[in-house]
Amino acid sequence: MRTRLWLVVFLLLLLPGAMAQQLREQIRKYTLDNGLRVLMVPDKTAPVIHFNLMFDVGGVDEAPGLGGIAHMVEHMAFKGTPTIGSLDWPKEKAALEAIDKARADLDRAIASRASQEEIQRLTVAFNQAREEAKKLALPNAIDQLFTNNGEQGLNASTGYDRTDYRVSLPSNRLELYLRVYADVMLNAVFRSFYEEADVVLEERRQRNENDPNGALSEAFLRAAFQVHPYGRPLIGSREEIQGYRVDKAMEFWKTHYHPNRAVLVMVGDVEPERDIQMVRKYMGAIPRGPSRPADTIPAEPPQTAERRVSIEYNAQPSVLIGFRKPTYPNREAYVMDMIDSILTEGRTSRLFRRLVIQEQAALSVSASSASPGFRYANMFTISAQPRAPRTTQDLERIIYEELERLKNEPVMAQELQRVRNQTRAAYLRVLQGGPGLAQTLAFYELFFGGYQRIFEEEAIYNAITAEEIQQAARKYFTPQNRTVATLVTRGGSR
């Protein structure tokens, strides 16, 4: 049995190399004069193109007090331009300026503690100005264009480190895509701004306040990062969201969202030499912007003692444990990825087997080796939910025992091989194409010194030894390097 498995394992490592090689040869990369990098991956399965436009800007780039503005700006980039969404641009422009003025008047009155009547009067004026502007705009015009043309998966997401815009379209809509996004990058109009701020407040309630996992995660990050922006909620605090103003948001947009800070990936029915002409026509019209500002983001000081935080919540208990660690391209970051798989990937992983199957102490357990971002030193996190009557303390004890085992005993060769196989299979599945491939390539191109890096990582993982795993475990899985957040039940699930 053993021998047979080993033979198969050996074949697994050699065989799909051809596939990665083939993909590597197919990828075309272009850099426009304005610095925009364009990657194209031909895949003729169906006449569609999956687009991913990714910027190297996210939550870490926000000034204090403007938490969540990157996410707000991500929403605003769907609001259109003068030629997309306006019924009469000169009039609408004036109406939008009137909103800004009404908002400023109201803010001044509040700041100078004006009378309730005065504030009331200015609030009415502000709301009236918003209504006037709405009459001059077509709501959600970008979505309308794409919906009409059969879009799938129109969406965007903001992380601590990056922001991406995604959509898939029938392949003959390339020009539409470029016309829209080049215009957005040139001329975004932040219409319906204050309505959208209310939407974001609802999003915050939904994700961070009424979801026990969101609430726990927010408390956890705040404890773990006391200086670095990874400690701030990505969506912003309630007060910050209520304080968003158009000028500040626009300033953030104009500082960061430029072609020289972005990658556009197109996966699907593309003909690179033909299609790049059209990409140049539209995306090439956007001027290069300033480079990424010099990194002024403060480093998190070294941690010297365990940090513990708990929140009371009307939900069943759970625990979130984090250990500070370096990020890529530091080799130890790759070692921690391997440890993640050893601990929680699949039913045979150490923590799943021990906590869920053997001791029946947890409903589930999961880990992440690069949380909450990857551009700066981050955390290895483990999350688990106890099965009553077992408690989060029980889970902590067992998890620490398993981490001690990693420190004290070298990982067996076969276990290491299993993890390598899983890593490789996951990697090959990403390479299969679709929106996932577009996003992964954008990510590597933007942050890992070029998309080619994706083809080099396998060698790194394969070279990681049991000894390195043991060393990293000893170095990072220590009590003083640990943050623990616990959700304590208050009043059942009421």
């Binding site: 059969g150 799938q152 016309r179 319906s192 309505e195 609802e202 039913r347 045979t348």
Partner: protein, 468 residues
């Protein structure tokens, strides 16, 4: 000709920015015209194995993977009425309780070392058993997959484990307001039908290994199974491999019980929970999928709640900022009617306002024809997105497998497309009036009534549902 024109204009473009800040040669995006692309239809090979399994195969040599899934009519509606939740336990333990000559741990160990997957999943109607593997390990993975399918061991200790986890999941199922609302809405919309039953600690505790064996013995017969398989293989060789892997699987007769359709009782079902947002669901049952009226209801539901340009989104979110999540749809009901519904997650002090705003959107679709522009928008979306139905060969094969299991005509989608093409605003209004009655909706609200803007009783009859 066009190329010449483009070149000429682009020389000027860099100098002239037209009003609106774009080069003069950029077209108005709303006037860009594109041909509707026709999907390249993929037809699987269809083979019947000697024991009666229907197999749909599509070769795809571009990647060194093989993926397969076999469907059986062993959905949750067929579990015993006093053992609600059994099908979920069944599918977990079928996969994790050992199979053939392998113990539970041996199955896991072998699959994970090969970085392959075998999975079992159950929905209302079907249980399916799937695998994914690198081509090189196909034989070994097929063997395990067939063992899981035909010879699951349902080890007692793994049954106890999964029951314990299910009990913990029940303990946690009131933690998230949205989960509470969805469960309550499905329960009320499917009242009187097995799909509306909700598991309890008692129903989970009553499940025995014999129950699982009986469920398996009753529904898992090759002559009623349909399999979809795609990837890196030669069709003839694959058929031979499947014959070998599935030999010894005995034919048998499967009789499926029938159920009367759900009979929901219109009301406002309110669940008190301490939260600063209310989760609101509302709707009523309509027609089964692809029955007369379905295509028009589908279009009407998109006008109501599909995406950024739907009425719920524009009215509740874009114009008023009352929700982040809002939308609606006509669901696909197979065997019993689907339903036409809308939902919002909105701040608690606007609960009644949002309910009324949502109801007004449904009513408007009955009272007035939609505009031609709205209809075209969603019609175009359906027609132009047809190419995405063929981006994955496995998805194509699985869709055809389910189509066959459901007894839909092979050209059901072409018929649907024809109806979508022919629909008029009057047609949408007609089906709305015929099938959607806001006055008789089931409305589920999960929220904190102490903070509501108005008592729910001002909106209709309220049934208080305790959190259990």
């Amino acid at each position: 000709m066009r190329a010449f024109w483009t070149l000429f204009v682009s020389l000027l473009a860099s100098l002239t920015l037209a009003q609106g800040g774009v080069p003069a040669d950029w077209p108005d995006p709303f006037k860009l015209q594109f041909q509707r692309l026709q999907p390249t239809v993929i037809q699987p090979a269809r083979v019947q194995l000697s024991n009666g399994v229907t197999v749909l195969l599509i070769e795809d040599r571009s990647l060194p993977f093989v993926t397969g899934r076999i469907y059986l009519r062993a959905g949750s509606i067929y579990e015993p009425a006093d053992k609600v939740g059994m099908s979920g336990i069944f599918s977990s333990v079928m996969r994790t309780g050992g199979a053939g000559s392998r113990s539970a741990d041996q199955v896991d160990e072998t699959l994970e070392t090969l970085a392959a997957t075998v999975s079992v999943s159950t929905d209302n109607l079907f249980t399916s058993v799937a695998f994914n593997t690198l081509t090189e390990n196909l034989d070994q993975v097929l063997e395990i997959w067939a063992d899981v399918l035909i010879r699951p061991r349902f080890a007692q200790d793994r049954l106890e484990l999964e029951k314990g986890r299910a009990l913990e999941a029940i303990r946690r199922r009131n933690d998230q307001p949205t989960q509470v609302a969805v469960r309550e809405f499905l329960r009320r919309m499917n009242e009187g039908h097995p799909a509306g039953l909700v598991s309890s600690a008692a129903s989970i505790q009553s499940i025995t290994r014999d129950d699982l064996l009986a469920f398996h013995g009753r529904f898992f017969k090759p002559n009623v199974a349909v399999m979809a398989i795609t990837g890196d293989f030669n069709t003839q060789e694959m058929v031979a491999k499947l014959e070998r892997a599935l030999q010894g699987w005995q034919r048998g007769e499967v009789t499926l019980p029938t159920f009367p359709p759900p009979n929901p009782k219109p009301s406002i079902y309110f669940v008190q929970k301490e939260t600063n947002q209310s989760v609101i669901y509302m709707g009523n049952p309509t027609v089964t999928a692809f029955a007369p009226g379905y295509s028009e209801l589908d279009l009407a539901s998109r006008v109501l709640g599909d995406g950024f340009n739907s009425r719920l989104f524009v009215e509740v979110r874009t114009k008023r900022g009352l929700a982040y999540a809002t939308g609606g749809a006509q669901t696909q009901g197979f065997g019993w009617p689907g339903f036409f519904y809308g939902a919002s997650i909105s701040r608690v002090e606007k609960t009644a306002e949002v309910i009324e705003l949502m109801l007004a959107q449904f009513r408007d679709l009955r009272d007035r024809p939609v505009s031609q522009e709205e209809l075209e928008l969603f019609r175009n979306n359906i027609l132009n997105a047809e190419v995405f139905r063929f981006t994955s060969k496995q998805a194509v094969a699985e869709r055809i497998a389910r189509t066959q299991m459901l007894g839909l005509p092979a050209d059901y989608y072409e018929q649907y497309i024809r109806q979508i093409q022919a629909a008029t605003p009057a047609d949408l209004q007609r089906v709305m009036q015929q099938f959607v009655s806001p006055d008789r909706f089931v409305i589920v609200v999960v929220g904190d009534q102490r903070q509501f803007d108005k008592p729910l009783s001002t909106l209709g009859n309220v049934v208080n549902v305790p959190l259990e």
